[in-house]
C-alpha cells in the first residue's frame, strides 16, 4: 500500500483530500441498497432512500457524514498533522463502506444490490469506498508529519481531562458492545452494523492519535498514576449503569473479566519470564474444582462447605502447589521443549479430570449446581438496586470480577517493576547471561509458575461459582490455546493488551454469530496472520515492540537509527579529515 501511496505527488494532496471528503459526504446521502433484501430492509433506511436533510441520518451513514465533514474541514484548516488525521478518517470511511458493500452484496445476491437494479440506482457504498481511497491517497500527498506533543497543564485541569477521557472511553466501550443490537433473528444485520461501528471507532481513534490526543492522555495518566487507576476502576464499575447494563452483557463482561485475569496470570509466565506454557488452563481448572468441592454442591463428594473467600484462598494455595510441581521439572528444559512439557501436563489434567480422578471432578457428569456466592445474605446471581437504579442479575459477579482483575493487574504491575520482574525479563532475554549476572534462575522460574498459577486458581474459583458448573471440558487444550492467543494478540507483557485480547476473543464471537461455523477456522487464520504481520500484538509493551518489529523503544525503525548513526559517523570523519587537511 505504501508503495502506491508514495506515487502521489504533493500538489495533488489537497485536492484529493477535498474530493475524498466530499465523496464521503455524498455517499452518506446516497442510497446504499437497490431493493429490500430477503432478510428485511437494510438498516438506516439505506434502501433507495436519498436524503436531502442531513440531520435525519442515523447509524453508519451519520458516521460517514461526520467523517466527510471532518475531512473537508481538516483539509483546509492549518493543522500540523493533518496528513495523519486524513489518513485515519480515510481508512475509517473505507472500512465502513467496504463492510456494508460486502454485506449487501452477499445478502442481495450480486453486485446489482449496490449498483443498479430494475432501474434503481444506489451507489452509496461505491462512492464511499472511492472517497475513502481518495482520502488515503490525498493524505499521502500531503505527507505525514510528526505527531505533535500537546502541552502539559496544571494538575487540576489534567485531572479533569483524565476524567473526561476515561468517561468517554467508557461510553465508547458501551456503545461498541451494544452496536447493532443482539445478533439474531430480530436484527439480521447486527454483524454488519457492528463491524461498521468498529470501522468508525478505528477511524476516530486513529484521528485522535494523529492529532496527538491519545499520546497526551497516556502521558498524563503516567504522571498521575494513582488517580488514573481509581478513575478507571470507577468507570469499569459504572458499566452496568450504561446501555450495556443488561443481564446478557454482565454475563459476557464477567466471563471476559475472568479470562482476562487468567490471561494476565499467563502473561507473568509467558510475557515476563518467557516460559511458554501450553497447558495453563489446567491451573484454572484445578482452582475451579477445588472451589466446587468446597462449596457444598450436591455432587461434591467431600462434604465440606466453606464460605467463598476461604474456599478461594485454599484453592489458590492448592493451585500454587501444583504450579510448583509443574514448574520444577521444567527447570532443566527450555524453549520449545518447555512448551511440550506444559502441554503434556495440561493433557494429563484434562484426561484425569474426565476420568473423575480421586472422585473429585465428577468425570463426565461434572459438578453441577454449585451455589452462587452469597455475601451477607445477598446472593450474587440476583438483581439488585443501587442508587435507585435496578441493576440486572449477575452484576454482583461483575463487580467482584472487576475487583479481581484490578487485583491481578496490581500484582502484575508491582512484580514487573520490581527486582523479581526484572530478573524474569532478564531470564526471558537470555537465560545464560542472567545466570552469569547472579540471578538464581531456578528459583525465579518456579516463582513465576507459582504466582501465575495462583492467580489462575483464584480466577478459576470465581469462574466455578459464576457458571454454576465445574466441568472438565471447560479446561481443554483449545482453551489454553485461546488464552495464549489472547495474550499474544493483545501484546505480551502488557496489561491492557491481555485485557483487550481476552475481550476481542470473547466478544467477537458473540457479535458476529453469523460466522460461527467458521469461528475456529478464522481463529487459526488469525493466529497465523498476527504472527506474520504484527507479532508484537495490538497494545505492545515498549520493549517487546522493539524486539519484534525491529524498532527501538521510541518507535523508530532500527534501520533508520543505524543509518543515522552511520551518517553521523561519516560526517565526523569528514570534518576531522577536513580539519587535518
Amino acid at each position: 500500500m505504501s508503495r502506491l501511496t508514495a506515487m502521489v505527488p504533493r500538489t495533488l494532496g489537497r485536492p484529493l483530500s477535498a474530493i475524498g471528503g466530499l465523496l464521503l459526504l455524498i455517499a452518506a446521502l446516497l442510497p446504499w441498497a437497490t431493493f429490500v433484501l430477503n432478510e428485511g430492509a437494510y438498516p438506516e433506511k439505506s434502501t433507495l432512500q436519498f436524503f436531502d436533510a442531513p440531520f435525519e441520518l442515523t447509524g453508519f451513514r451519520w458516521h460517514l457524514l461526520l467523517f466527510g465533514v471532518a475531512a473537508l474541514v481538516v483539509t483546509f484548516v492549518p493543522l500540523p498533522s493533518k496528513g495523519r488525521v486524513l489518513r485515519a478518517v480515510g481508512w475509517g470511511g473505507l472500512a465502513i463502506s467496504l463492510v456494508n458493500a460486502v454485506f449487501i452484496t452477499s445478502e442481495g445476491g450480486g453486485i446489482g444490490a449496490i449498483t443498479a437494479a430494475d432501474g434503481n440506482f444506489a451507489f452509496g457504498s461505491i462512492v464511499g469506498f472511492i472517497g475513502g481511497l481518495a482520502l488515503i491517497f490525498g493524505s499521502a500527498g500531503i505527507g505525514l508529519a510528526e505527531i505533535p506533543r500537546l502541552p502539559d497543564l496544571p494538575r487540576v485541569v489534567e485531572y479533569l481531562v483524565l476524567l473526561v477521557a476515561f468517561a468517554a472511553t467508557l461510553w465508547l466501550v458501551s456503545e461498541t458492545l451494544t452496536a447493532g443490537g443482539s445478533a439474531g433473528v430480530s436484527s439480521p444485520y447486527a454483524g454488519a452494523v457492528f463491524l461498521a461501528f468498529l470501522g468508525m471507532a478505528g477511524g476516530l481513534l486513529g484521528a485522535l492519535h494523529g492529532v496527538g490526543v491519545t499520546g497526551w492522555i497516556s502521558q498524563m495518566s503516567e504522571r498521575h498514576r494513582a488517580f488514573s487507576v481509581i478513575v478507571l476502576l470507577v468507570c469499569a464499575a459504572a458499566l452496568p449503569f450504561t446501555s450495556a447494563g443488561t443481564q446478557y452483557w454482565m454475563n459476557v463482561a464477567g466471563t471476559v473479566g475472568i479470562y482476562a485475569a487468567t490471561a494476565i496470570g499467563l502473561n507473568i509466565v509467558v510475557g515476563l519470564a518467557g516460559l511458554l506454557d501450553l497447558g495453563y488452563v489446567a491451573f484454572m481448572g484445578i482452582g475451579a474444582f477445588v472451589s466446587a468441592n468446597l462449596s457444598g454442591a450436591a455432587a461434591a463428594k467431600l462434604g465440606i462447605t466453606l464460605p467463598f473467600p476461604v474456599a478461594a484462598v485454599i484453592a489458590a494455595v492448592i493451585v500454587g502447589v501444583f504450579g510448583v510441581i509443574v514448574g520444577s521439572p521444567t527447570l532443566r528444559v527450555r524453549g520449545d521443549y518447555l512448551a511440550i512439557v506444559t502441554l503434556a501436563f495440561g493433557e494429563i489434567f484434562t484426561r484425569s479430570a474426565q476420568n473423575n480422578v480421586g472422585d473429585l471432578t465428577g468425570g463426565a457428569n461434572a459438578i453441577p449446581s454449585i451455589p452462587p456466592i452469597a455475601v451477607g445474605g445477598l446472593q450474587f446471581n440476583e438483581p439488585i438496586d443501587l442508587f435507585g437504579t435496578k441493576l440486572p442479575s449477575g452484576v454482583m459477579y461483575y463487580f467482584l470480577i472487576t475487583l479481581l482483575v484490578a487485583l491481578v493487574m496490581a500484582v502484575f504491575a508491582n512484580l514487573k517493576n520490581s527486582r523479581i520482574g526484572r530478573a524474569w525479563i532478564a531470564i526471558r532475554e537470555d537465560e545464560d547471561v542472567a545466570r552469569a549476572m547472579g540471578i538464581k534462575t531456578g528459583k525465579m522460574k518456579i516463582l513465576a509458575f507459582l504466582t501465575g498459577s495462583m492467580l489462575a486458581g483464584l480466577a478459576g474459583a470465581v469462574f466455578a461459582h459464576k457458571l454454576g458448573t465445574a466441568s472438565y471440558d471447560a479446561f481443554t487444550f483449545l482453551q489454553s490455546v485461546t488464552l495464549l492467543a489472547a495474550v499474544i494478540l493483545g501484546g505480551m507483557g502488557s496489561i491492557p493488551g491481555a485485557v483487550m485480547g481476552a475481550a476481542l476473543l470473547f466478544v467477537l464471537p458473540e457479535k458476529l454469530r453469523e460466522f460461527e461455523d467458521y469461528r475456529l477456522l478464522l481463529f487459526g487464520l488469525a493466529l497465523i496472520l498476527i504472527m506474520r504481520f504484527r507479532p508484537q500484538g495490538l497494545v505492545p509493551d515498549r520493549l517487546r515492540r522493539a524486539e519484534f518489529a525491529g524498532e527501538t523503544p521510541d518507535g523508530k525503525p532500527i534501520e533508520e537509527v543505524e543509518e543515522q548513526a552511520v551518517l553521523e559517523h561519516e560526517h565526523e570523519l569528514e570534518s576531522s579529515k577536513g580539519s587535518k587537511a
Binding site: 520449545d336 493433557e347 484426561r351 497465523i528
Partner: protein, 304 residues
C-alpha cells in the same frame, strides 16, 4: 500370555503409524528447530486425499486392489505434499528469523485452520468418514494372536520407508546437504547449499511419509475423522523426542516404544484404558526432564 503378546502386537502396529509421522517431525525440527504442530494435519489431509481418490475419481471403486491402492496412495501423497509445501512457503518461511515463539504459534494456527478447512469444505466431513478396506481384508494369525493384514502392512512399510529415507540422507548428495544445513546453516550456505531448497525437500520427505501413513492408517482403522491428526501428532512428537530429535532411527524406535506404552499401559497399569494417554505423557515428561537428548540423540542437539 496371549493378551500380552496381542497387546505388544497392537502396540507395534500403532507404533508403525506414529513412526511414519515422527520421522517428519524429527527431520523438520533437526533442520529448522521448529516443532511443526501442523504435521499431524499433513497426515490427516493425506488420509483425506486417499479417501477423495476412492470416492470421487470415477472407476477406482471397481478396480483391483493392486491398481486402486497405489492410486489412493498417490492421491494421498499429492495432497499431503502440496499442503506441506504451501505451509512452509507461506506460514514458516517468512518467520525464519523471528523469535522462537512466532513459528510455534503459527504452527498452532495452521493446525487448527487445516482441521477446520477440511471439516468445512470436504463434503460431509462433519461426521466420521468410512474408509474402505476392500483390499487387505484378511486377518493373519501368528501363533495365538491375530493381526489384521493392514497392521502388518503398516509395520512393514514403516520400517522399509524409514530405512529408505535414512539411506537417502546418508548416501545421496541432497541428503548430505540436508545434514549440513541442520548442523550449521551458514557454513552450508558458504559451501553452495541452497537452504531454502533443502528445507522444502525436508518438508516434502516428511509429508510423503505422513501421507502414506494417513492412507494406510485409514484403511487399518476403517474410519476417518478430521481430528485424527491432532492426537497422533502429539504421540509422534513424543516418539521423536524419545528417540532423540534429529535422529531418524531414533524416531522409528521411539514410535514403537510409545505404541507399546499405550497398549501395555492401558492393559496393565492402574486406571486401565482410561489412562493410557496419560502414561504416554508421563513418559514424555520424564524423557524431557531426565534425558532430553533422547535415546539416540547427541547432547549438543538440544537447543535452548
Amino acid at each position: 500370555m496371549t493378551t500380552l503378546l496381542q497387546q505388544i502386537a497392537n502396540g507395534l502396529v500403532l507404533g508403525a503409524t506414529i513412526g511414519l509421522i515422527a520421522v517428519g517431525y524429527t527431520m523438520v525440527y533437526g533442520i529448522i528447530q521448529l516443532i511443526n504442530f501442523a504435521h499431524g494435519e499433513i497426515f490427516m489431509t493425506g488420509a483425506f486425499g486417499g479417501l477423495a481418490v476412492w470416492r470421487f475419481v470415477p472407476g477406482v471403486k471397481d478396480m483391483d486392489w493392486y491398481f486402486a491402492l497405489p492410486l489412493m496412495l498417490v492421491g494421498g501423497v499429492v495432497v499431503s505434499v502440496t499442503i506441506a509445501v504451501l505451509m512452509e512457503r507461506f506460514a514458516y518461511r517468512p518467520l525464519r528469523n523471528a523469535p522462537r515463539l512466532a513459528p510455534l504459534i503459527t504452527a498452532l494456527g495452521v493446525s487448527i485452520g487445516l482441521q477446520e478447512a477440511v471439516r468445512i469444505w470436504f463434503p460431509d466431513a462433519d461426521r466420521s468418514q468410512s474408509f474402505p478396506r476392500e483390499f487387505v481384508k484378511t486377518q493373519v494369525s501368528i501363533g495365538p494372536i491375530e493381526v489384521p493384514a493392514t497392521g502388518l502392512l503398516l509395520i512393514a512399510v514403516s520400517i522399509a520407508l524409514g530405512a529408505l529415507v535414512q539411506f537417502y540422507i546418508n548416501k545421496s548428495r541432497l541428503g548430505r546437504a540436508m545434514r549440513a544445513t541442520s548442523q550449521d546453516p551458514d557454513t552450508a550456505r558458504l559451501m553452495g547449499v541452497n537452504p531454502d531448497r533443502v528445507i522444502v525437500l525436508t518438508f516434502v520427505i516428511g509429508a510423503i511419509l505422513a501421507g502414506v501413513a494417513g492412507v494406510l492408517y485409514g484403511m487399518h482403522v476403517q474410519t476417518l475423522g478430521v481430528r485424527a491428526g491432532f492426537q497422533n501428532g502429539i504421540f509422534a512428537f513424543t516418539a521423536a523426542v524419545l528417540g532423540g530429535i534429529g535422529s531418524l532411527p531414533g524416531a522409528v524406535v521411539g514410535a514403537f516404544v510409545i505404541g507399546m506404552v499405550k497398549t501395555l499401559g492401558g492393559q496393565y497399569l492402574p486406571g486401565g484404558t482410561q489412562y493410557d494417554y496419560v502414561w504416554i505423557f508421563v513418559v514424555l515428561i520424564l524423557v524431557l526432564v531426565f534425558r532430553p537428548q533422547g535415546l539416540f540423540g547427541e547432547s549438543e542437539k538440544v537447543r535452548a
